[in-house]
Amino acid sequence: MPDFAKALKRLRDRDRQPYLTGLSPVAAFSLSEQLQFLKPLPSNRTTTNVPVFQEGLPAGESESTSFGSHYVVRKSFADDYYHGKVRLSRFCSGELQQLMKLMKQRAEVGERDRIVFLDTETTGVHGGTGICPFLVGVGHFSGSDFKMIQYFIRDFDEEPSMLLALGEFLTNFDLVVTYNGATFDVPLLETRFTLARLDNPFERLGHFDLLNTARRLWRNGHGSCRLIAMERLMSFMRGPDVPGAAIPRVYFDFLQHRPTPQLAAIFTHNTYDVVSLAALTLHACDCVGVAAPAALDDPLDLYSLARVLENSANWRRSISLYEMALGGGLPEPTRTKALENLSVIYRRIGDNQRSFEICEELMRSDVFSLLAYEGAAIHHERIESDVEAALQVIEVGLKRLDGFPHVGLADAESGSLKRWRALLRSRWERLQQKVIGFPASEIA
């Protein structure tokens, strides 16, 4: 039997020597450093601020299940609650169904009261079975109110009870909406249900991860699509907040030295996340809805939506949004891309003339557009049966490419030059073959 006690004593001695410790729980910043920005907690946000109770926990109650107990905090947002400029109670499940259809999400939405919005706070973000969700926030509509329930574990042994209650609660719903839940929250919770040997409630739930939608709608215009950044779209300001990276430490601190004053801020953070998720879902519905584009004024957002609509074959609406975006002024290379897409859509719906006009406009532009030369050549060849004109267009394009510098280009640039040249070249050869009756390459 190895003598662990003695070996450990030596380790403890060694631990006092700074250069020799190989073992420290990742502490680049001390906890107090991490937390100093939390000190001025929001004081006047009546709807989301929570009174602090025993053990530094917000007011709530301990609930029991056959697996033990856990802690639950409930609150409610009334009919007249505005999240920034978004009135939450306007939420309509039909519009969500349309949004999801547009985003090619197959899940069924069902009634509004059967949609649940979910966000977890965890002991880490690395993934793996050792990460524990210690706070799960769920929000749902009930009548005209939006209800919020937070399941919290006061220590790790409360997790099975919390999961049991959560799993039971989730049976009331058909669809779960998350922000990045497809890669994070849902697999994490599934792992925890497996570890607790409980049925996985997500197997029967539809899932809509809003993050991907948000990226498609807003990344062009706004860059970062983190939920906090998205709140600006809704004119909602959180005020002081716990940064996500500090959350695990706050919880560990609570486990060791409860009460921890900062813990309440995590409940607030989680509430913000869930309510913002619901509000942003509503906002996304507004943006793609028929009543739009009233909700959009940024040309880049209009362009983003036009692309989404184009992808789901909404040609007419897509055209009008592209036109509006172009009218509002788009930066390059987005402008060229918009014109190219527009030209293709016009050809699709049979408006060949308009499609050709756009190609001509693009060919006059400083930005080289392969699609414009191809489009114009197709127009000449197929619509006007004028192969000669098609050949000429291609030759102009090739000549323009020859004029580009051969040196000093980034790999990607010279790569696309090469590709463009090859594509135009093969089109030219095919057309030439059509004229002379045998492959041009065989002439020489």
Binding site: A5, Y19, G130, D157, L195
Partner: protein, 771 residues
């Protein structure tokens, strides 16, 4: 007199030229050339291994007809006895370890029972672990063709760091047989076990190939990894059988049992046939007797390998380091790839080559396009390179097992093969080449591990708790580890709630724990020549001696000058340079006895405190190895607790030896040097695995002059106690080595060059052995 016969026995440059001429004008056969080798005076021993008939047995009737059809499709109508044995053991639900030589059809020993089980029960799963990725890919193709011939629904996949993210889910759900490595099991599979429920619920076999590689630190880690695997399997209700294969080592069954914590059956007899083998022990001729200088073993290796290759006899050359591999490739290319000889008949093969390049080389060797290969130990393991006729070992590989593995790379199941071991001038090599009977009669080394090393255990208890909360009453590897868990809790890694310990840190512990070293701490080497980029990593323990400021750091044959060592940030900043010297650090080592576990007369083993300090460095010129300068360094002292064997010399008798104080000290150091080298012969370990130090008993740490041979890893990896037990043969061998060395005062082959060191060392040996 055959002209070529002289060449190898002589060291006159003129005769070497003759060899070349003869080779060009009169290509001789392998057997003809053998005669020439046998006559060489430098051959200290010629050993003939007669051919062996295969032992073939009928395919058992219990084998599924589908599997039998595939076997027959491959022309296998009978099984070797060891293949049949393993099939029967597997059916009886036993764990087994198969110890047979290379190319004896070892893979069938596990493929057959595993495929049979999957055919019988399509839910069954198996995990195959190989010590390197290269081996995994080597086996993957073969196994896939088996599975395809059997049933297309049988999924065989590799799963490692190279598996694309989007393919991983498919591998997890569809793979019946997963081929991976311990590092991936440690970092990628166990910490995500909930994604692998199909595998763990149905895991019936774990195959561990090349068992003998799991020794020392690596083995100690892997033993703990299997403790973790066992916990996960228990959670999902499975209890897999283990099938291990191993090269010849002294304790395969014991090692397998220590690694997995399960009882094992041993299959030690190979039923495969073997062709005859001619083994030569070759000691390069002495060029300066007084100083004990021999001709370079690298030159000799080039010469001998070159002679075979010129005769168009396919050969593999093994070198003991990457650097020497590259040097030998260049020498041989220079000599052979001239004139009408096509390019790339000689290639190098080592870690650090890209996988594609390696695959090409393996193919080239199999189809005969490549005639010669120079390799590090990378080709020692079972990668399929077909069969070559000759193995040339440039330097003793360090262990008997490794030597047999390398020699086994030459040889077909019929026909003859040749192996030549060329000794370098280190004491280890000189002992082996002068006492080949030791090598030939001795059972090979033990695979030693110490899974209870506290550092290693701490690492894996973190991972284990991360993977699954640790029950208060739970044991780990049969031990009550409560105290260790409490220590982790103190450090804030884990936290007890109710009756379980939970992981309570936002880190992913497996990420910072390497299975191949004790301490997870390492330095990164940052090149600052152009844009800063990381070019390598150095273990914490060797950082001070290899990347201290002003050191020349070698990487891929390129030299870098270390201009800054940032210790708190664990970074070494280097610049590319073209220098004609390399650096060698000067380390002062002090050892203090903490506790004596066992003692007999002047021999002891127990726990010690070792402190190292790198105090300076020497600049040494490439090729000539002259000392061209030095520098002082002021680096922190590195300390560790480890286990040690030590031998004390009675102070009175030491002081009454009829030599000067300096001579006595030289002798003591020289003896430590020789003993440390020979200890490696007797323990199955690399020279770097053990350290040696001397305490002259003058500055009060020890009253008696003492020689320490310690485990060079914090916490020890279990080598000191066995060394204590086998001290008699080890000391006797040391004596023999020193006595039989042909130098006058001492040379690198025995006690190192110092005035009268040999004489004194023998006198001290006499004192300690007759104490």
């Amino acid at each position: 007199m055959a002209a070529t016969g002289v060449i190898l026995t002589s060291m006159r440059p003129a005769s070497q030229l003759v060899l070349k001429d003869v080779a060009l004008t009169r290509p001789s056969s392998l057997s003809e050339f053998l005669g020439e080798l046998k006559q060489s005076e430098s051959v200290s021993r010629y050993h003939y291994i007669p051919p062996r008939e295969p032992r073939l047995l009928e395919i058992p009737s219990t084998l599924d007809a589908r599997v039998r059809r595939v076997l027959e499709g491959r022309g296998i109508l009978k099984l070797y006895s060891h293949q049949l044995e393993s099939f029967e053991f597997a059916r009886a639900g036993k764990n087994m370890v198969v110890v047979t030589p290379t190319a004896s059809g070892k893979t069938l020993c596990y493929n057959l029972p595993v495929l049979q089980r999957i055919v019988e029960n399509p839910d069954a799963r198996a995990l195959f672990l190989y010590p390197t990725k290269a081996l995994t890919y080597d086996q993957l193709d073969d196994l896939m063709s088996w599975a395809n011939a059997l049933d297309r629904a049988i999924g065989v996949y590799s799963y490692d760091g190279d598996t694309p993210q989007d393919a991983r889910a498919a591998v997890r759900s569809r793979g019946h047989i997963i081929l991976s490595n311990p590092d991936m099991l440690h970092k990628g599979i166990l910490p995500h076990h909930t994604k692998w429920t199909r595998l763990f619920e149905n895991l019936q076999f774990v195959v561990l190939d090349e068992l003998h590689t799991y020794r020392g630190v690596f083995g100690s880690h892997v033993a703990n990894l299997f403790r973790r695997l066992e916990r996960i399997c228990r959670f999902y209700g499975s209890r897999p059988q283990f099938i291990c294969t191993s090269a010849t080592i002294a304790n395969p069954k014991d090692l397998a049992e220590r690694l997995t914590g399960r009882p094992f059956e041993l299959i030690g007899e190979s039923g495969a046939g073997e062709g005859e083998k001619h083994v030569f022990f070759y000691n390069p001729p002495v060029v300066n007797r007084q100083l004990g200088i021999r001709r370079s073993y690298i030159q000799e290796a080039k010469h001998i390998a070159g002679a075979f290759l010129k005769r168009k006899i396919p050969a593999i050359v093994f070198a003991n380091s990457r650097l020497i591999t590259e040097i030998l490739v260049r020498y041989l290319k220079d000599e052979l790839e001239r004139g009408p000889t096509p390019e790339d008949v000689i290639v190098g093969y080592r870690g650090g080559y890209l996988p594609n390049e390696r695959r090409q080389i393996e193919r080239g060797l199999r189809n005969g396009r490549i005639r010669g290969v120079v390799s590090t130990n990378a080709l020692e393991l079972g990668i399929d390179i077909g069969s070559l006729d000759v193995a040339v070992l440039a330097g003793y590989p360090g262990t008997i097992a490794s030597t047999w593995q390398r020699m086994g790379r030459a040889g077909r199941r019929s026909g003859m093969s040749v192996a030549v071991m060329i000794a370098s001038s280190t004491p280890l090599d000189q002992y082996i080449v002068n006492h080949p009977e030791y090598f030939l009669n001795q059972p090979p080394e033990m695979g030693l591990i110490n899974p209870e090393n506290i550092q290693v255990l701490l690492n894996h208890l973190q991972c284990a708790t991360f993977e699954l909360p640790f029950e208060e009453s739970e044991r780990f590897g049969g031990h009550d580890v409560t105290e260790v868990l409490e220590y982790l809790a103190e450090r804030g890694f884990i936290h007890r709630a109710g009756s379980k310990w939970h992981w309570t840190s936002d880190s992913y512990p497996a990420d910072s724990i390497s299975l191949r070293s004790v301490s997870s701490d390492n330095f990164v080497v940052v090149e600052t020549t152009g844009d800063a980029r990381i070019i390598g990593e150095v273990d914490f323990s060797s950082a001070y001696s290899t990347v201290h400021e002003k050191a020349i750091y070698l990487h891929q044959g390129q030299q870098y000058y270390v201009h800054q060592l940032d210790i708190p940030e664990r970074r070494a900043y280097v610049r590319q340079v073209d220098s004609d010297y390399f650096t060698d650090a000067i380390t002062h080592t002090k050892v203090k006895v903490l506790e004596t576990m066992e003692t007999t007369a002047s021999h002891n083993h127990g726990e010690v405190h070792v402190s190292h300090q790198v105090v300076g460095f020497k600049k040494i010129k490439f090729f000539t190895t002259e000392n061209v300068g030095s520098g002082d360094l002021n680096l922190p002292v590195q300390e560790m607790h480890t286990t040690s064997y030590w031998v004390t010399v009675s102070r009175d008798r030491f002081e009454s030896l009829p030599f000067s104080t300096t001579e006595r000290l030289n002798g003591l150091h020289g003896l430590a040097y020789a003993l440390a080298n020979l200890s490696c012969v007797f323990l199955m370990c690399d020279r770097r695995d053990i350290g040696s130090a001397v305490d002259a008993g003058v500055d009060g740490l020890a009253f008696q002059p003492t020689i320490f041979i310690y485990d060079n890893f914090p916490g020890g990896i279990g080598m000191s106690r066995p060394l204590y037990e086998i001290r008699q043969p080890a000391l006797a061998a040391t004596k023999q080595l020193i006595e039989s060395c042909s130098c006058d005062d001492g040379c690198p082959s025995c006690v190192g060059p110092a005035s009268r060191a040999k004489e004194v060392a023998l006198a001290i040996l006499d004192v300690v052995t007759n104490a």
